[in-house]
Symmetry: C2
Amino acid sequence: MAAALCRGGKVRRPRAGRFLPLPGARHDEREGTTVDPATGLMRRALAAALLGPEVDPNPRVGCVLTDAFGQVVGVGHHRGAGTPHAEVDALRQAGEAARGGAAYVTLEPCDHTGRTGPCSLALIEAGITQVRYAVADPGARAGGGAARLAAAGIEAAPGPLATDAEAINRTWLFAARTGRPFVTWKSASTLDGKVAARDGSSRWITGAAARAQAHALRARCGAVVVGTGTALADDPELTVRGPDGQPTPAQPLRVVVGTRDLPEAARVRDDAAPTLLLSTHDPAAALAAIGERGIHHVLLEGGPTLAAAFVAAGLVDEFVAYLAPALLGAGPAVLADLGITTITDALRFEITDAAIVGGDVRVTARPQRRR
Amino acid sequence: MAAALCRGGKVRRPRAGRFLPLPGARHDEREGTTVDPATGLMRRALAAALLGPEVDPNPRVGCVLTDAFGQVVGVGHHRGAGTPHAEVDALRQAGEAARGGAAYVTLEPCDHTGRTGPCSLALIEAGITQVRYAVADPGARAGGGAARLAAAGIEAAPGPLATDAEAINRTWLFAARTGRPFVTWKSASTLDGKVAARDGSSRWITGAAARAQAHALRARCGAVVVGTGTALADDPELTVRGPDGQPTPAQPLRVVVGTRDLPEAARVRDDAAPTLLLSTHDPAAALAAIGERGIHHVLLEGGPTLAAAFVAAGLVDEFVAYLAPALLGAGPAVLADLGITTITDALRFEITDAAIVGGDVRVTARPQRRR
C-alpha cells in the first residue's frame, strides 16, 4: 500500500511512478506489487474488453497499441457481431503511429476471414513488431493468429493476465476448447425445492428483481432451452424482454427439446425470435445441434425432467438457483429423479456465489472438480 | 463524516467532542449525530449485556451505574442462571459510590424473588435516584420493577435504545409477550430440497462448518424438538457436543413429539441430557408443554412431517435453512404436504440473512408480516 500524503488538508494518493522511479515499472494497486509495463498495458486492454457487450456468440476482446517508444496510441474493443475486432478498432485510432510499436490483446488475434478480415494480417500490415495476447484462441477455425505473426517475424507471446482474460470469456473459451456449448441451468424454486404448486401454478415464485436478472442472463446466452413438457404446460414465450416488457431487438435461439408435438399456436413458434425444435431426449445430441449453429452458451430453463436429463448426463456446467423464501410443501420438485439412491452418490457442486436479489436468494454453483 | 486531519504524515480522526463542545453531549459515531448522555450510557450497558451468554432461559442484561455527578461507577452484566443480575453485579462494583446516582439497564429491573432477590429493591436500597431501562419486561412474573421504583420515589423511565435492547433478547421477549416459546426451524437439505437420499441416508448432506453452527444454535436454545419419525429413523442423540465431540455440560431439553413408541435403547433416552416425550401431534400443545418448563426458545429439528405440522400451524417464527450444493433428485423433501394446492396460497417468508458457511449456504427467513 502506498502511504497517504497530505497537502493542504487533502489526502492524496501518489501518482504512479513517484515513489517507484524504476524505468518502465509502475506500482499496481490491485496486485500490490511492482509490475512490468506489459501487465499494466494488458490490464488496460482488459478494461477496454469489458466495454463490449457480453453476448453470445462473440467474445469480449480489448486491444492496446503503443508506438515504437512504448506510448499508448490506440485502445480498442469489440462491440459485437459484425463490428470490427478490437485490434482493428485500435489500429483505426492509432493510424501510422502504431508502426514499429506493440499490441496488447486480451485474446490471440484471429487468423480467419469472417465478417471481418484476419486480425493477424491487419497487425502485420500496420507494422506492429511485438504482440502479447493474454490467452490463446483454442478454436480450430479462428486460432493460429500467433503462428502467422511469428512467420512474419513478429514477436508474439502469450500472457500476461491469462486468468483475468479467461474469466471474461469463460463460456466462449469453454465452447472453443470442448466443442460443445457451456450450459447454465437456471432454476426458480421455493426454499423447499418446489417449482410450482400442486395445480401447476407458478406465477410468480420469485420476485421482480430475480426475474429481471433471469432476463439479463437470457440476453447473454445464444440459446434458451426448455423441454416439450414446459412448453406445453406453461406456453412460455422465451424471449428477452426489456424494462418496457417488449422483446429486445437481439433474441437468443429458442430451443424446445423432446418428442411431443407442440401446437401451431404455441408461443415459442411465433415470430418474436428464432426457434429450434429438437425431437430428441438426449441432452448431448441437443447440445451438438445447438453448437453447430455457432452457439457457445446455453441457458437451460427446462422443467424438472429436462434438468434431470442434463444433470445426470454431466452436462450442467453452472447452476444458478433462485430461491424464493416461500414454502409449498407439495408440487413438482425442481429436479426429477436422477436414479440416485444413497447419499454418497449425491451429485456434489461447489458454491461460487450467494447473494440476496430483491426478496430472493441466488446461489451459483459449479460441478465439483474431481480430486 | 469528519474531515481527515494530517499531522506528521499520519491521518487522524478527530476526537469525540473536539468539534462538538455542547455540554453533556457527544458525537456518536454509529448514529452519526449528537446524542444525549443517557444514550451513550445505555449503549455501554448494551455492550456489557453482550458479554453474557446467549443461552435460554436467561435474557442478556447489562447495567451501568453513575454517581450523583454522572460519572460511571459500575458496569455489570448477567452471566447466566443462578448468578447475580446485571444490576446487582454493577452495584457490587459501585458500592456506596452509587448513592444518589442513576442506573441504565437494558431490561426493566425485575421485581420478584427467584434464585436472586428483586433488583428493584436492590436499586432502592443502594440509594439510586434515577433509572432508565431500554425495554420493559413484559413478563407477568418478573415485570413491574418500574412501578415499585416509582412507588419509592425513584424516577424510572423506559428507553433509550429500545430497538437494540429488543434485538439482543428477541426470543426471550417474544416468549414473555406471547406466552409461548419462540420457534426456530432449522433444516439441512440439498439445493433441490431433499433431506435424505431415497434409502434414507443423510450423513452428511451439509459440511462440518454448517453442522458446527447447528450445534452452536442448539446450545442457545432451551429445547430441541424432533418427531418420533426422526427419532426412530435416525436415532439421534440431540445433544450439544463441543469441538472435542463430547457433550457440553449444559444441555437443552430433548423433546420427541408423536404417538409412536420409542425403544428403551433410543439414544434420546440416555443420560446425556434431559428428555421429554410428548404423545401428541399438536404443535401448539407441544409448545405449551415446553413453555411450562420455563423455556423461551425452541429449535425444531424434526423431519418433514413435524416441520409441516409446525409450519401449517403458523408456529415457525424463524427458518434457518442450510442448503448444500448437492443434488439428489429423489428422496424425502425438506417439508411434507401443507395442504397447499395453488401458488397464491404459498406461505411467504422474508429473508433476513444469507451467507456462505463452509461449502454450504445458510438462508435465514421469518414469516412475512401481514400488510
